[in-house]
C-alpha cells in the first residue's frame, strides 16, 4: 500500500456517540448514574451475563455483577481464574488518596493521565477513573490484600514512572498478583453462592449477534475440543491486550487477541490499534529460542540510574567504565523528571542511544540500570527491602547479580492502549457487547502511565460496568435468546470450518516460525519508531506472510483433543489480520503522539510532535470484509478541562 491508498480509505465523522455527559466534569459520573435506568433487584436473577476473562477487569466484573444478583457465566482459557495475566503486574496501583500529603488530588491524577496519554483519551472517562481510584484501594484492603504499610500501620505509597507525587500502592513487587487474588476470592465466593458459573479451559472463538445485539458466544473446550454455545442477555469481553502479536513481548504465552478480533469482525469497531506501549525496563533478549521478554518493574527507575558509555562501541565491563565516561542520558536530557520520565519517552531515548551506537552489552541493544549510587546512599538492606524479588528474578534469568553489576535493560512490547472502541458506558458499537480492561481502548490515550493499568481494570469491573450494564439490560426482556437460534449454528459452523481448514493445511512451517516473522516485522517497522515508507512496505509484507500462513502452516493432532498447536495457530491467524490494521492505523495517523512516533514528525531532539488540528481524534476502525480497506470512524476529542499543550518533561 502506498500513501494514495490511505487516501482512499473511507472516513466517517459524527457516527460515534460516546454518550459522555456534558457539564461540570466533577459531577458527570454522579449525574450519569442518576440518569441511568435500574434493574429491579428482584428481576436481576432473570438476566444472564457472559463475562469472558478472569483478570482484574473480568474477575471483578463477574464477582460484582453476581453480588448484584445477576446470573453470570464466566470463561477463561486458563485452568484457573487466578492465572490471568494481571497476576504478573509488579509495580503497583495508583489512587488519588493523597495520603503522603504531597499535593495529589483527583484533579491531578486526571490531569497527569490526560497529559501522560498525550491528549488522545476522552476527558470524561479519565476523570471518572481518577475519582473511582480511591474506592478501589478501599475495596482491595477490605478483601485482605496485603499492601505495603508504614510502621504506624497505615498504607505506604511510592512514586512511580512519570508522576511527581507518591500515589502508588503496592504489595512488594507482586501487586498484580495480590489484587488478582483478592478479586479471585470475591469471584470464588460467588461461585460458591451459585451465582457465577465458571468455565475454565474455554477459548472464546466467536461472538453471536442476533438482531444487532450481542447475545452469546461460541467457545472451544480446550480439553476435548467440543465447540460449545452459550446464550445470554449481554456479553462482557475482558480478554486483555494484543502485545503478543509482536511475538516477543512481556505478555503471557497464552495472552492473545482472538476474542476481541472476532468481536471486531462481528461489528465492534477497533480503536487506535497502533497505540502499543513499549516498556523501557525489560530484560534484553538473551539468545535464540526465546519465547518472551521479562519486564522489570519500572519502580526500579526510582532508585536506579540509567546510563550508557560515552564512547561509542565501548565494550568494557560496566564497572570498569569510570564515572566521567558514563552518559546518564535521561538525567541529561530531562533534568526535571530524570530517570522518571514516562515510558514512551524513556523507551525512545534508550532506542536512540542504541541506534546511535552507544548501546551496552554484547549485542549493543541494551542500556545500564545502575543501583550503585542507591546502595551507597541507602545501604544494601534498604535496596534489598525495596527490590529483592526483582533483583532475584533478574539474577535467575541473566546469571548476573544486580547488587554488584548494573542491570542491562531494553524496551519491549508490553501493553496496548488501543482496543475495542467503547462509549462512556463501556459498551462497544455492537449493542450489548461491553468491553473492559486492557481489551478496550478507553483511558490511556497514546501512552499509559505506570500503575494505571490495574487501576483501570478494577475500576471498569468493580465500579463502572455493574452500573452501566444495568442501563442496557433494563430495557429488555431477559432470556429471550436460546442457543438453538440459527445465529448460533452459523457462528459455530464458521468456527468449525476454520478449525478444519487449519488442520487440513499440513504445510511445512510451524505457526511459531510464521509468528516470529510477523513479530520481527511489527517490531522493526511498527515499533518504537515508524515511517510512511516502512509502514506501507510492511503492510505488503504482512499480506504476503498471511497468504503463506494460510497455505503452509503445519499443525499435528486432531480437533477433538488437547491440541495446543491448533490453539496457537488460530491465534496467530488472527494476529496476521490484526497486524495489518495496526499498520494501517499507524500509517493513517500522520503525526507523532505518545508511543506513536512517526519519523516525519519529530523535533530535532527526537521528541514527538503532535498535530492536534488534524489528529485530536480516536481512530475507530470498522471491518468491511476487506482487511486493506477498513472504514475509519473518527471520534473527535474535546479538551475542556486540560488544555492542549505539548508534553514537556525537561
Amino acid at each position: 500500500m502506498n500513501a494514495p491508498a490511505i487516501k482512499q480509505i473511507e472516513v466517517v465523522d459524527g457516527s460515534l456517540d460516546a454518550k459522555a455527559p456534558g457539564g461540570d466534569i466533577r459531577t458527570r459520573w454522579d449525574r450519569h448514574r442518576f440518569e441511568m435506568k435500574l434493574v429491579n433487584p428482584a428481576n436481576k436473577r432473570k438476566y444472564t451475563v457472559i463475562v469472558v476473562g478472569t483478570g482484574l477487569a473480568g474477575g471483578s466484573a463477574a464477582a460484582s455483577l453476581a453480588e448484584l444478583g445477576y446470573n453470570v457465566l464466566n470463561f477463561c482459557i486458563h485452568d484457573s481464574p487466578r492465572r490471568a495475566h494481571s497476576v504478573a503486574a509488579q509495580g503497583g496501583i495508583n489512587a488519588a488518596k493523597n495520603y503522603p500529603n504531597d499535593g495529589d488530588s483527583v484533579w491531578r491524577l486526571f490531569y497527569d493521565t490526560i497529559k501522560g496519554g498525550d491528549f488522545r483519551a476522552r476527558e470524561s472517562n479519565v476523570y471518572r477513573l481518577a475519582q473511582l481510584s480511591e474506592n478501589i484501594i478501599d475495596q482491595c484492603v477490605a478483601q485482605g490484600v496485603p499492601f505495603a504499610r508504614e510502621y504506624g500501620g497505615l498504607l505506604a505509597n511510592r512514586s512511580f514512572g512519570g508522576a511527581q507525587v507518591s500515589r502508588t500502592f503496592y504489595a512488594r513487587g507482586q501487586t498484580g498478583q495480590q489484587l488478582l487474588l483478592g478479586c479471585y476470592g470475591a469471584l470464588m465466593r460467588q461461585v460458591e453462592a451459585g451465582r457465577v458459573k465458571l468455565f475454565p479451559r474455554r477459548e472464546m472463538l466467536d461472538l453471536v449477534v442476533i438482531d444487532g445485539h450481542a447475545r452469546g458466544i461460541v467457545c472451544r473446550n480446550l480439553v476435548d475440543g467440543t465447540l460449545e454455545r452459550y446464550a445470554a442477555d449481554a456479553v462482557v469481553v475482558a480478554t486483555g491486550g494484543y502485545s503478543t502479536a509482536y511475538f516477543l513481548s512481556t505478555n503471557a504465552i497464552n495472552s492473545n487477541a482472538t476474542a476481541i478480533w472476532r468481536c471486531h469482525k462481528r461489528g465492534a469497531l477497533f480503536a487506535n490499534p497502533c497505540f502499543m506501549q513499549i516498556h523501557p525496563t525489560c530484560i534484553p533478549q538473551l539468545g535464540e529460542g526465546q519465547s518472551k521478554l521479562t519486564l522489570m518493574s519500572e519502580s526500579l527507575r526510582n532508585d536506579g540510574r540509567i546510563w550508557v558509555p560515552k564512547q561509542k562501541g565501548d565494550k568494557r565491563a560496566p564497572n570498569d567504565i569510570p564515572e566521567a565516561e558514563r552518559d546518564y542520558f535521561l538525567e541529561r536530557n530531562y533534568p526535571t523528571f530524570g530517570n522518571l520520565v514516562p515510558r514512551d519517552v524513556a523507551s525512545r531515548a534508550a532506542k536512540r542511544m542504541c541506534d546511535d551506537g552507544y548501546g551496552a552489552g554484547p549485542t549493543g541493544l541494551s542500556v545500564y540500570l545502575d543501583f550503585a549510587d542507591a546502595i551507597e546512599r541507602l545501604g544494601e538492606p534498604v535496596v534489598r527491602d525495596r527490590y529483592a524479588n526483582l533483583f532475584e528474578m533478574y539474577h535467575e534469568i541473566t546469571n548476573e547479580d544486580p547488587y554488584h553489576v548494573p542491570m542491562q535493560i531494553y524496551p519491549a512490547p508490553h501493553y496496548t492502549m488501543g482496543g475495542l472502541w467503547v462509549d462512556y458506558n463501556l459498551m462497544s458499537t455492537v449493542p450489548g457487547l461491553h468491553v473492559i480492561g486492557e481489551a478496550n481502548f478507553s483511558d490511556h490515550g497514546a501512552n499509559r502511565l505506570g500503575a494505571s493499568a490495574l487501576m483501570q481494570g478494577l475500576c471498569d469491573g468493580y465500579f463502572v460496568l455493574p452500573y452501566t450494564i444495568g442501563n442496557y439490560l433494563a430495557g429488555m426482556t431477559p432470556g429471550k435468546v436460546k442457543t438453538d437460534h440459527p445465529a448460533f449454528a452459523e457462528a459455530e459452523g464458521g468456527v468449525r470450518a476454520n478449525v478444519a481448514k487449519l488442520l487440513s493445511l499440513k504445510g511445512t512451517k510451524t505457526a511459531r516460525e510464521l509468528h516470529w516473522q510477523l513479530g520481527r516485522l511489527l517490531w522493526d517497522f511498527v515499533g518504537m519508531s515508524r515511517s510512511a515508507k516502512g509502514l506501507a512496505d510492511t503492510i505488503d509484507k504482512i499480506r504476503e506472510l498471511r497468504a503463506e500462513f494460510w497455505q503452509n502452516v503445519q499443525i499435528e493432532g486432531t480437533a477433538d483433543d488437547v491440541n495446543q498447536a491448533l490453539e496457537y495457530a488460530g491465534r496467530v491467524a488472527d494476529y496476521f489480520e490484526l497486524a495489518e490494521l495496526i499498520a494501517i492505523d499507524a500509517l493513517s495517523r500522520d503525526e507523532s503522539c505518545g508511543c506513536h512516533l512517526r519519523e516525519e514528525h519529530q523535533t530535532p531532539e527526537g521528541e514527538a510532535m503532535r498535530d492536534d488540528d488534524k489528529f485530536a481524534y480516536v481512530a475507530a476502525w470498522e471491518y468491511t470484509g476487506d482487511f486493506g480497506k477498513p472504514r475509519l470512524h473518527r471520534e473527535k476529542l474535546d479538551f475542556e478541562n486540560v488544555h492542549l499543550a505539548a508534553r514537556n518533561y525537561k
Partner: protein, 257 residues
C-alpha cells in the same frame, strides 16, 4: 535474535512422560535434543522439542505454562524427580538450561497426585485448589461496602507476614512433592494470611473448617511433617504455615463444641 555462533550449545537426552487424553496410564518416551542455548529456559527447551516434533510430523508434548516469569502458577512438572526441577525455590519456567550439564539425561513427568488427575502428557487438573478456595479462602465483602482503607491500621510486621503467606501461586508443587500428596501447605498459606489480618477475623473459624473439609473431600492426603512441600515451594512458603493451620483448626473445632 542475538547472534549466536552455535558455540556453547548443548545437547540432552530427554525422557518425557506421554499419556494420551483419557488413557489410564502412559510411558516415558526418549527424545534427543541439540542446539540448546544455556540461557534458554527449561520451557523454551521444551518449545524447541515441540518444534522438532512438529517438523517430523509428530504430535507435540502437551505442557502448560503462561506468564513464564514465575508468578501465574500455571507451569509445573517433575524434573529428575523434583517438582519444578533441581534448583530450589523457583518455578519450572524460571529454570534455565545452564543448570543442566551438557549431555545430561533429563526426565520430565507430570505432577502426580490422586487429586490432580492427568489430562494429557504433562498437563494435570488442579481444579481441586479452586474448589478449596471457593469454600472460604477470602473475606466476604461486597463491592462498594468497604470502609476507607486507612481506618484499620495493620502493623507492618503483621502485613509483611500476611504477604509472606499470600505469595502462594497455587502451582501445586507442594502436593507433587509430598509423599502423601497433601495440600496442607497450599491451604495453610491462605488460612494464615487471613488469620493474621483483622479483615479475616469475622470468618476465621468457618473458613478453616470449610477449607479443610474440602481438602479432605478432594482426596488430598494428610500432612505427616516430611517438609518436602517447603523445599519444593517456588515462593518459599514456610512449613510454619501448617502449624498455624493446625492451631486454627483446633481453635475453630473447640469453639464449635
Amino acid at each position: 535474535m542475538s547472534a549466536q555462533n552455535g558455540q556453547g550449545h548443548r545437547s540432552y537426552k530427554l525422557k518425557v512422560w506421554r499419556q494420551p487424553r483419557g488413557a489410564r496410564s502412559g510411558k516415558l518416551v526418549d527424545y534427543q535434543i541439540a542446539g540448546i542455548d544455556p540461557n534458554m529456559s527449561f520451557l523454551e527447551m521444551m518449545d524447541q522439542l515441540n518444534e522438532v516434533l512438529l517438523k517430523k510430523g509428530e504430535e507435540p508434548v502437551a505442557i502448560e505454562s503462561d506468564c513464564r516469569e514465575g508468578i501465574c502458577g500455571t507451569c509445573g512438572v517433575v524434573i529428575d524427580g523434583q517438582a519444578h526441577g533441581p534448583v530450589p525455590n523457583i518455578t519450572t519456567c524460571s529454570l534455565r538450561m545452564r543448570s543442566f550439564a551438557n549431555g545430561a539425561t533429563i526426565t520430565v513427568e507430570p505432577f502426580r497426585a490422586k487429586a490432580f488427575p492427568i489430562i494429557k502428557d504433562l498437563i494435570v487438573d488442579r481444579a481441586g485448589f479452586d474448589r478449596i478456595i471457593q469454600r472460604g479462602g477470602y473475606v466476604s465483602v461486597n463491592t462498594g461496602s468497604a470502609p476507607e482503607a486507612n481506618t484499620m491500621p495493620i502493623p507492618k510486621d503483621i502485613a509483611e507476614a500476611a504477604m509472606d503467606s499470600a505469595a502462594c501461586i497455587g502451582c501445586g508443587a507442594c502436593v507433587a512433592a509430598c509423599p502423601n500428596a497433601s495440600a496442607s501447605l497450599f491451604v495453610s498459606a491462605k488460612v494464615r494470611q487471613m488469620a493474621l489480618l483483622p479483615q479475616g477475623d469475622a470468618e476465621r473459624a468457618r473458613r478453616v473448617l470449610a477449607m479443610v473439609e474440602q481438602m479432605d473431600h478432594e482426596g488430598f492426603g494428610d500432612c505427616s511433617n516430611h517438609g518436602e512441600c517447603e523445599a519444593a515451594c517456588p515462593k518459599s512458603i514456610s512449613i510454619e504455615n501448617i502449624s498455624v493451620l493446625r492451631r486454627e483448626y483446633v481453635r475453630a473445632t473447640v469453639a464449635k463444641h
